[in-house]
């Protein structure tokens, strides 16, 4: 694994605008292609294997959380639990998720968190870096079958759905979310869905019909929401969700996987798993250095790294009182930058990676996206 200097394409902003990655220059430059990460095939095998293994553990974890009634450990309110259990028992389908890994190219990848409910950085991983590869180093390869697998999984979900009309929503304020939803609408449409996008704020509820409707008053039978379940459950329409037959993606059972407390449960059930770090609900166990992560937080907000007397903390709006404590493992450093590997699962399959890097040890919304490529392993004689 190397961080290589690359020659940026002369027209890269226009190239990214064309595919919908319109937020490429936010915060002084979100997308950068003057560098790229190089992997060997065996390193990609390692990441793929870890992704598949952790996905299986996570699916088992949902079953176990429900069976052993571990909701209280996660501080999930009682009124939210029936929806989670019901969606699991109905085997409601999932589209995607993204594991974030510590990885240095040598040791086993370690799970930092699982973005199971509303992962983003999707257009850049699925399309942006693929276009970059074709233009810049077409002789190389890339761990990236995201686009094809998204279309495939949309097709699988379509076979199970009661309608072929899919509504996709997100908050209206976020350009990234909006473009992500439109990209997903594109892939769903290619799989045979009729698609309709709208801001989540415009969804209507008709009590007399016990159904949600869109801006044009069409019933919403299948909803993809780029909006976390823990927010949905606190919104005014939350109680109406259980009265509606609307299928929601990601399903409610993903709520327990996007919860940071999952890290502690996985460690409890699978101690010494090579892709897990020790994690606990209270205290830091035997860890001399640890990271405190709020149960519900996003984009690196309200994170604390405690290493002896040194404490590094980020601000944010989330409740840090309910947190998980995970062993601190400093991110690898490449020329002063710390990468985190985002490894995607589409349906039940590993589907590719995207890399974000930061000069700081806590990644946030200003961490930059960097493309990657894969070279053949050099035979060892």
């Amino acid at each position: 694994m190397y961080r290589r200097a690359m020659q940026p394409r002369a027209d890269w902003p226009a190239q990214l605008d064309r595919i919908g990655l319109t937020y490429h220059s936010l915060d002084g430059g979100y997308w950068r292609e003057d560098v790229a990460y190089e992997f060997s095939g065996s390193q990609i095998d390692c990441l793929e294997s870890a992704t598949a293994s952790l996905h299986r553990l996570c699916v088992d974890a949902v079953e176990r959380i429900i069976r052993d009634d571990r909701f209280a450990d996660l501080r999930i309110p009682e009124e939210w639990r029936p929806r989670i259990i019901d969606s699991w028992e109905r085997q409601e389908p999932s589209l995607y998720g993204r594991f974030d890994f510590w990885y240095d190219g040598m040791g086993a990848p370690k799970l930092l968190e699982y973005n199971a409910d509303t992962p983003t950085s999707l257009i850049e991983a699925a399309v942006g870096q693929w276009g970059w590869l074709r233009d810049t180093c077409p002789e190389a390869d890339q761990f990236n079958s995201l686009h094809e697998r998204l279309i495939g999984q949309w097709g699988t979900i379509l076979e199970q759905a009661s309608s072929d009309l899919l509504h996709l929503v997100c908050l209206d304020q976020s350009d990234e979310d909006r473009q992500t939803v439109i990209y997903l609408a594109d892939t769903a449409n290619q799989a045979g869905w009729q698609v309709q996008t709208l801001p989540i704020e415009q969804i209507g509820w008709v009590p007399g019909r016990q159904r949600f409707v869109d801006r044009r008053n069409e019933p919403i039978a299948v909803l993809f929401k780029l909006y976390p379940w823990e927010w949905l459950c606190q919104d005014a329409f939350a109680g109406d969700l259980s009265r509606s037959s609307m299928l929601v993606l990601e399903p409610a059972w993903k709520q327990v996987l996007s919860h940071k407390g999952l890290l502690a449960l996985l460690w409890e059930w699978y101690p010494d798993h090579p892709n897990l770090l020790p994690a606990f609900f209270s205290g830091s166990g035997e860890c001399t250095a640890y990271v405190r992560k709020p149960f519900w937080s996003r984009e690196g907000a309200n994170i604390s790294i405690v290493n002896g007397d040194q404490v590094l903390t980020t601000s944010g709006p989330y409740d840090a009182e309910t947190s998980v404590f995970q062993q601190y493992m400093p991110l690898p450093r490449f020329e002063g930058w710390h990468p985190v590997i985002g490894s995607w699962v589409i349906g039940d399959e590993p589907a590719g990676i995207g890399i974000r890097e930061d000069r700081g040890l806590i990644h946030g919304n200003q961490s930059r996206f960097v493309p990657h490529y894969v070279v053949k392993d050099v035979p060892v004689f």
């Binding site: 595919i19 919908g20 937020y23 936010l26 915060d27 979100y30 990609i44 699925a126 399309v127 693929w130 276009g131 077409p138 002789e139 390869d141 890339q142 990236n144 079958s145 094809e148 908050l171 209206d172 304020q173 976020s174 990234e176 909006r178 473009q179 439109i182 609408a185 594109d186 449409n189 698609v195 309709q196 996008t197 709208l198 801001p199 989540i200 704020e201 415009q202 969804i203 209507g204 509820w205 008709v206 009590p207 019909r209 409707v213 801006r215 044009r216 008053n217 909006y227 927010w231 949905l232 606190q234 919104d235 005014a236 329409f237 109406d240 984009e299 709006p317 989330y318 590993p350 919304n365």
Partner: protein
């Protein structure tokens, strides 16, 4: 090794599959007024030029609720409130 490359294990030997459907995006943009505000804006229009809700809704539904006898019960704005408390536009991504 399980397939992980979009074009099969021997890149360059197989023509790349289309990874981003320009055709679909164009068709979405062309029918933006029927696709909702997000696609309308993504198609290069500003929110100011977007048709009013009444223009998008069918005649007789200017209040944005179904004209089927239960229109008086229709409620909007019940989703998004919690997220709006956390989202700060200046934070960007």
């Amino acid at each position: 090794m399980v397939k992980k490359w979009p074009d099969g294990p021997s890149p360059g030997l197989v023509a790349p599959r289309l990874r981003q459907s320009t055709e679909v995006r164009v068709s979405l943009a062309a029918m933006a007024d029927g696709m909702g505000e997000m696609v309308w804006i993504a198609a290069g229009h500003s929110a100011d030029t977007m048709p009013e809700a009444g223009a998008i809704s069918d005649p007789g539904q200017a209040d944005g609720c179904p004209d089927d006898g239960v229109a008086g019960d229709c409620e909007r704005g019940g989703f998004g409130g919690t997220g709006a408390q956390f989202y700060k536009p200046e934070e960007g991504l």
